[in-house]
């Protein structure tokens, strides 16, 4: 093998090596480039799920809050009715006490 042929073979090998490295760089770039879309996919998935969950939590609270409030209102109405019934029964006594208070203020 002549010297020139040897150099040619080496140059060819260097070219192949450079291509291998270049391909590797391109592949690395592709891998890094994929990261952005992977993160975006991950973000969309996680946030969509979280937002759905959040929406369910608030809707459930709205419904539970209404039910609890209705229950409270029902109980309170019943308590008010009792207060009114008791007070109505005491009206006569109250009137007599007030009359005594006014008439007795000069004793």
């Amino acid at each position: 093998m002549s010297g020139i042929e040897t150099v040619k073979i080496i140059v060819e090998a260097e070219k192949k090596a450079a291509k291998i490295l270049n391909d590797a760089q391109n592949k690395a770039w592709e891998i890094r480039k994929r990261l952005d879309s992977m993160v975006e996919t991950e973000r969309e998935g996680l946030l969509r799920s979280a937002k759905n969950q959040a929406s369910t939590i608030v809707e459930r609270a709205e419904s539970e809050g209404k039910t609890e409030a209705q229950e409270l209102e029902k109980n309170s109405q019943s308590a008010i009715r009792q207060i009114v019934t008791r007070a109505t029964a005491q009206k006569g006594v109250a009137v007599e006490r007030l009359v005594a208070l006014i008439m007795g203020s000069e004793q």
Binding site: M1, T6, I9, I10, A13, E14, K16, A17, I20, L21, D23, A24, K27, A28, W29, I31, R32, R34, L35, M38, V39, E42, R43, L46, L47, A50, K51, Q53, A54, I57, V58, R60, A61, E62, G65, K66, E68, A69, L72, E73, S76, Q77, I80, I83, V84, R86, A87, T88, Q90, K91, A94, V95, R97, L98, V99, L101, I102, M103, S105, E106
Partner: protein, 207 residues
Amino acid sequence: MSETSKFTEDILAVAKEKAQTIVAEAENETQKALQEAKTRLSREADDVIRNAKAEAEGVKRRHMSEVRHKVKLQEQLEKDRILTDVLQQTKKRIADVASDETRYFPYLASSIANAIRELGFEEVLVHLNAKDLKRIDRTKLEREVGKKLDKRVKVEWSKNPIEALGGAIISNADGKIRIVSTLDQKFEALGSKLLTGAGRTLFGNNA
């Protein structure tokens, strides 16, 4: 194998090894960055849930608070209605008592005597309403007042009737210094005391 072949194989082997390292590094970096992004996104998602839970608590509190406010208002209106009714009935009842001379006469005598004592004059002018001017025995009343004061006081009875349920207005002779001791005035003056008293009788601990 020739020297040249070995040399070129070495070149390619080094290049392949380096290429593997480049790709492996890129993959490692990407995995690490993805993991970090997942952790960060997971925190963001947790924040969304946490905020929703806080909002949910707020929603429930708002519903309860609205109802509490509504029923409190309703309770207050019911109580006010009953109290107003009791005060009106009391006024009516006082008018009834004022018509009953047996109960009213001692009250009127005490009322006039107390006012004279407070004024400290020996001579007073007493104003009554038209009904009392007509029906009350003023000589008897003056005697009763004198008994209560334990001294003689000259009482002059005004011919001009006052507008009142009962009671009297007592003044010095020229009418410049006077004490209003009408039932209406007592009603007004005792207003808050009446409300408190009625509230306690009607509503007890719920007043």
